[in-house]
Structures are given as C-alpha cells and as structure tokens.
C-alpha cells in the first residue's frame, strides 16, 4: 500500500472533527472520498498532509508513519496536495506559481516540468506572465493542480476540484483527471459531486460526520442507492 | 445563605475605599507618597486599559496625554499663577482635546497601523514639549516648583485628595464599563466588521474611547505634577507608556480593577528593584516578554471569566 490512514482522530481546537477515519490507496489507483460539505473530507486531507495533525491514529506512507511530521517534510516524501480553496499565490505570475513549486520526485527524477505542464494546460501557457489573482475560477483550479504536479508527487490529494465551477469547466477538470490517470499519477479525490467522482475513480469511501460510512468499488456504491440517498443526497 | 459572589460590587468598592482612606492614619510620610504614586499609576493604567483592554487598540503613545495633563497644571499654575483648583480640572480637558485630534488620525487605521501611529504621534507631542515649545515648557529642564495650596500640601492630605479623585474616576469608569458604550466597544474589539453591519459607527466609537482614555490620563498626569511639584518631558516619552501597558497585562486586560492593581504592584516592584540595579527597563522588558509568552492562548483565556463577572454584577 502506498498510503494507509489508520483510525485517525483529528481536532480543531476543542472540536472533534474526525472520529477514527481509515482508508487506503494503492499505487496507480484513483480513489474518491465522497461526502457532503463539512463531512470531514478536507480535514482528512489536512491530517494526511500535516496541516492539521491527528491527535491519535496513524498515517503510513510507503509503510512509514508520517503523522506529526511538518507539512513540508510530508510534501517532500512525495504527497502533493491540491487544496479546495485554490490557494494560488495571487501576486506571483502563473510561471512563478509553477516555479516556486518545482522539486524533484522522490526517485530523484523530474518527469513534470513547466513545459510538460503547459502541454496539458495550454491555457496556462497563454497566461504565463499574468498574475495568478487575475485568472478565472477554472483557470485558478488548473493552476493549483499544475502547481502541485510541479513537485513530482507520487500521490495527488485533490480536494473538491469541481467545487463551485460551471459544469463545462467541471467536465474539463474531469477530462484532466482521466488524463493524469493515464500518466500513472495516483490520486485520492475528495468530492461532493458524486457523478464526477464515479466517472473518474475505481474505489470510493463515503464519509459523513467524520466517520467512514461505506467503502468499496464505485460499482458497489452505485448498487447501493440507499447509501447514496442517506449520505450524499442534497 | 449569602455567598461572596452575591454581594453587590459597590459594597466591595465602598469597603476598599474606606480601607484605603483608613491607611492614611497608619502609614508614614514616605509610604503615603508611595501610596499616592500607586493610586496615580493605577488611574493611568485604567485610562489606558479602556482603550487597550476593552477597545483592543494597542496604544503606545498614551504617556503623551498623561504628560500633557501634567504640563497643563504646571504651566497654568507656575507660569500664569492660575489657582490649582482651576488648573487641575483643565488638565483632562486639554488632554482630551488633543486626544481628539490625535485619535482622529489614529482610528483611521486599525491594528498594527494604529499602534504605529500612536507611537509616532506620541513622539511628536514629546518633541513639541521638549524643543518646539521649550519657551513654555522649560525644554529639557522641565518646570520646577509648582505651587500647591496649603490644604493638600501635607503627604496625608494629598494622599486623601488623590484617593478621592481616584475613587470618583473609578466610579465613573465602572459605570461606563457597565453601559452600552463599553459593551459595543467590546463587540468592536471582537469583530469590527460585523459591528459595522449592526449599524455601529466603528470609527466614531473608537475615537470616543480614545478621548475618554486621554481624559483620564490627563487627570492622572495632573495629579502627578502636583505630587512631585515638578514636570519633565520624560513624562511624555514612550517608555513612560510601558508601565501601564505591562501593569494592564499583568493585572488582566479585560477588567477594570486588574490594570490598576497590576500597575500599582509594578510601581512597588520598580522602587524595590531600583535599590539594587539601575537597569529597571531590562527587568520591565523581560517581565513583558514572560507575561506575553506565558499567556496560554493569548489573553483570550482571561476573558472567559468576564461574562460570569458581568452576570454576577447584575
């Protein structure tokens, strides 16, 4: 297993957010973590990433415990995080945003370069000298993903890439995720948008109230409409 | 059974005032002067804390308004022979008037900028007193020999006089802290943006706070001028602001009495330590750093008691 999250409990100050979340991602997989707003998806990602360290439980990365490590060390060990709030650097140009994020992969190689990223995101090349803050929502989302790729991660944590985007852009982002899968990027995806998640991933975890309520293949999830109704319907 | 908590606050206040007055018959002359200084330091700290504790505006130039009060008394009484009974009441008026001018600029900016501006404007007033207006203020030498009326010239009488003024100021400030003004001020401290959207004119409210704080600082300064019969430009210097700041920090910034007690204790410590070393600022600096780092979740923890205290006072 590439990533194993084992029974983590995470708090923000006094509030208990995650109640024993466990999940696994293997190399080459695309796994989704679906749930409503506030179900604990982002907190799970932040726990993995060290931005909100779990109080108990373990996060194993390539078999080694990484919980409690600082975020930069976790990133250097090969996990790339794409936050939902699209935290691009608004006063840096598109190119600078990408350059800041550049680092070698854990194998010392760098398959992702600015040129490769521009190939996949031609829009970004067109705007390479524009300040990040002046991009549209969809472009900012692309830049966030592209920026994380520049770190040559072994695993991509994608937090709600479709959130708040118009359907046309969501489709484009979906295409992009499929394309990344073909590039052998391992992906853990957090989503509210079930259709989007099912279209791109093989396995799914359903999270609600900080607990994993279901895990299985996407086909199994689709075969359980009552679960979808209970935890995911709006 | 009546517990301590249900006894109304004013009863405690009355007891404290009587006890403090009673002290005047016990203490010697030196202690009475020290006690007067402590009361003045307490009043100065309370005047700052209205702005810094309740208002959340970190004010680094408060000494200027304290000094202005002192100079007002000194200049009027010494240079123009105006009776003290007229000069002293004018001290807070002058401080408040200049507080209005300086405050008007300072409240235009929040947080860090506010602090920067108060320090800068405080230093301007210091420079004015030190050099620009040296003809009136005596420049570096200050003003010596302020005439004091017979009735308050003894240490005991002056202590009682100071206690009377202190008590009046305390009662006034106590009333203000229970009134909508300070409730709204606390709301602004918590969330100025939201306060706007419930219809509060935030800047005007903060400016009023600044003026009130300057007013009471002026009284403290005036009292100090009479006690020492001397004023010097150091009273306006920014390091003079540091003792009420640390006093408030030590005593608890979200209460009325805390800063007064903290500042009074700090003054005692100052005098005590000065017997051994001339490096009091070092002690003050280290103490400030310790208090800041020791405050566990910032000073937030201390506020949790406030609502309870407020309820018990109702």
């Amino acid at each position: 297993m590439l990533l194993q999250v084992q029974d983590i409990h995470t708090y923000y100050g006094l509030s208990h957010i995650l109640f024993g979340v466990s999940l696994e991602v293997d190399r080459g997989e695309c796994v989704c973590l679906v749930g409503r707003n506030g179900a604990g998806k982002t907190t799970t990602f932040k726990s993995i990433m060290g931005l909100a360290a779990p109080r108990t439980g373990a996060v194993l990365w390539k078999g080694q415990p990484i919980q409690g490590n600082p975020p930069f060390a976790i990133a250097r060990s090969g996990i790339g995080f794409v936050p939902e709030e699209r935290a691009i650097f608004p006063d840096l140009t598109v190119w600078e945003n990408l350059d800041v994020a550049h680092k070698l992969g854990t194998d010392g190689r760098s398959p992702w370069t600015v040129e490769r990223v521009y190939e996949i995101f031609p829009r970004l090349e067109e705007r390479k000298n524009q300040m990040g803050g002046t991009l549209s929502g969809g472009e900012q989302q692309m830049l966030t993903i592209a920026r994380t790729l520049m770190g040559n991660p072994d695993l991509l944590l994608l937090d709600e890439p479709s959130e708040g985007l118009a359907p046309l852009i969501v489709d484009a982002i979906g295409e992009l995720v499929l394309q990344l899968k073909q590039e052998d990027v391992t992906i853990l995806l957090a989503e509210q948008n079930l259709h989007f998640s099912l279209a791109v991933s093989e396995r799914a975890y359903v999270i609600d109230d900080g607990r994993i309520q279901f895990s299985g293949t996407t086909a199994e999830l689709e075969a359980h409409p009552e679960i979808i109704q209970k935890y995911l319907a709006v | 059974m009546q517990t301590l908590r249900t006894i109304p606050a004013w009863t405690w206040g009355l007891l404290a005032a009587v006890a403090l007055a009673g002290l005047s018959f016990v203490l010697g002359e030196f202690q009475l002067i020290l006690a007067s200084q402590m009361l003045i330091a307490g009043l100065f700290a309370m005047s700052l804390n209205i702005i810094m504790g309740f208002g959340g505006m970190v004010h680094f130039g408060h000494a200027a308004f304290y000094g202005l009060g002192a100079y007002t008394v000194a200049i009027l009484a010494k240079n123009y022979n105006i009776p003290l009974w007229v000069a002293l009441p004018l001290a807070p008026v002058v401080s408040a008037a200049l507080g209005a001018v300086v405050g008007w600029f300072c409240v235009r900016r929040v947080r860090l900028y506010f602090s920067i501006l108060t320090l800068a404007f405080g230093q301007i007033l210091y420079v004015i007193v030190l050099s620009v207006a040296a003809d009136f203020t005596g420049g570096d030498n200050g003003i010596h020999g302020i005439p004091v009326p017979e009735i308050i010239s003894s240490a005991r009488n002056y202590y009682l006089f100071t206690l009377l003024i202190f008590t009046l100021c305390f009662v006034a400030l106590f009333i203000i802290t229970k009134a909508p003004f300070v409730l709204t001020l606390r709301a602004i401290r918590e969330n100025a943006e939201r306060a706007q959207f419930i219809g509060v004119d935030v800047r005007r409210h903060q400016l009023t706070t600044f003026i009130i704080g300057s007013f009471f600082a002026g009284i403290a300064g005036g009292l100090m001028a009479i006690l020492n019969r001397f004023v010097g430009p150091d009273m306006l210097f920014w390091t003079t602001s540091s003792e009420p700041i640390l006093g408030s920090l030590m005593g608890g910034m979200f209460s009325l009495t805390g800063p007064a007690v903290g500042a009074a204790l700090l003054l005692g410590l100052h005098l005590f330590i000065s017997q051994y070393t001339e490096f009091w600022p070092t002690v003050l600096g280290i103490l400030t750093i310790i208090v800041v780092l020791a405050a566990p979740t910032g000073l937030v923890g201390l506020t949790d008691d406030l609502p309870r205290a407020a309820r018990s006072a109702e």
Binding site: G164 | I176, P180, F197, I198, V200
Partner: protein, 256 residues
C-alpha cells in the same frame, strides 16, 4: 411595490470583472434567491449593496434612496440587515450580549455612557424575544464563539433580525451544515419571512433549499445576471440548464 432596485452595477477587482452590469429588483415581502457557481460574484454583490465595497458604476436604490457612497453602518440603519457565509459574530461576547449589542445599536443606544445595560428593560425584552425565535434562549449565557456552527449561524441571523430590517440579505445560510441543521435553518428562514415580514434575498448552493423556498430566482454567472424568474421558469430555462444546472439535474431537483 419595489423595495430594492439595482441598476447597471459594475465592479472590477484588478483585471477581474466581479460584477458585470447587474440589474435586478426586489418586491416588498418577496423571498428571492441568487444562485450561481462560486466566484460568480454573489458575495461581491452583497458587499456592494451593503456599502462594504463601492461600485465602479451603477446605482442601488433602496426605498427610493440611492445607497452608493454611504458607509455600511448608515445603510444598516436604513433597514438592510445582513448575515454572512462564514459565521460572523462576536466570539467573546455571550449569546445574549451579541443580540443585545445589535438591539442597542438599532435603538441608537450604543454610545450611552452611564445607564447599565441591564437597565434597558424594554430593549432586553426585545433581545429575549429574538433569542426565543431563533431558538437560542437556553444558550444565552454561552460565549458566541463556543457555540456549534449551526447555532452560530442562527445567532448570526439573530443579529440581523435585531435591526428589524426591511430587507435581509443572507449569504449561504446553510453552508457547511448537516442535513438536519439545514432543515431547521430552512424552517427558520421561512418562519422569519412570515413572522417578521421582511423581504429576503439569499444566496445558496443547495438547490433543494433554493427551489424549496424561493419565490424568485436570479442566476448569476461570471458577474452578470443570466436569468431571473420564478423557480419553474428558471428550471426550464435552457441557458441556465446549460451553464449551471444540467438539464436532467434541474428537473429532478425541482420535483424533489
């Protein structure tokens, strides 16, 4: 009768046209929603109406009065209340004090220097009424910042109600809520519109909430209004379906 009319409103931040020639009007007592993807300019529009930002051009007329250039606190006093997407309260004031501050402000008593807050009998009764109607009376002595998220948003609405607004702007009242909390918030919104007779304008992501309670829906897309109309019209509007809802989705949501 039209209570609010927005005419050709424009606002750009840097190169980004956040509000693009927006015009819309609200009738007295109407319950309307603004929908649109994140970044479509919903919050900016609220900020423009309430004077937090100043538009580059255009007019906002409220009860016959042009609001442009007025500071937020004066706009509030004219009768526009607002609640925020992230709960935006006074964390270290008790629940009671939170609402009390707003009520005192509404009755122009914020600057009162000598009368104790406990001695404003009539106004405190008003605070009590509001706390009852938002269901927080039992939690009145708790610090606002220590409430659960759902309760904070109720308190948030309580602050807005304390101003007895003629128009109330709610920014995503159910964002981040569980389904139960959402249901009770929807009930609260309905109750408010009945009980307090205010005109309501809200933004929302949750289409069930939008189609469940709104009488009129405005669709905002890249800063501009794409469509305005009754829920059925919006659901059937081909352009809206294309850019936002997705054809199938919209119909099933509307039926649901």
């Amino acid at each position: 009768m039209t209570i609010l009319s927005i005419e050709h409103l424009n606002k750009a931040f840097g190169g980004l046209q956040a509000t693009n020639d927006v015009s819309l009007s609200l009738e007295q007592g109407e319950l309307s929603a603004i929908i649109g993807p994140n970044g479509a300019g919903k919050s900016t529009l609220f900020n423009l109406i309430t004077g937090y930002h100043r538009p580059d051009s255009g007019r906002v007329i409220f009860n016959g009065r042009d609001l442009i250039g007025l500071p937020p606190h004066e706009i509030v006093r004219l009768g526009i209340g607002r609640s925020f997407q992230r709960s935006n309260i006074f964390p270290r004031l008790t629940v009671f004090e939170n609402v009390q501050t707003a009520v005192l402000s509404h009755y122009q008593q914020s600057g009162h220097l000598w009368r104790g807050t406990s001695r404003f009998g009539k106004l405190n009764e008003q605070v009590e009424r509001i706390l009852h109607s938002i269901g927080l009376w039992d939690k009145r002595a708790r610090l606002g910042g220590k409430l659960a998220l759902g309760d904070q948003k109720r308190l948030e609405m309580g602050l807005a109600l304390a101003l007895e607004p003629k128009l109330l702007l709610l920014d995503e009242p159910t964002a981040g809520m569980s389904s139960e909390e959402t249901a009770s918030t929807v009930a609260l919104v309905k109750q408010i519109s009945d009980e307090f007779k205010v005109t309501l304008l809200f933004t929302e992501h949750d289409m069930a909430v939008v189609f469940g309670i709104a009488q009129t829906i405005h669709v905002l897309y890249y800063g501009g209004i794409v469509a305005s109309g009754k829920p059925q019209e919006i659901a059937d509007n081909p352009e809206v379906q294309k850019i936002y809802l997705g054809e199938k989705d919209a119909k099933s949501r509307f039926r649901g």
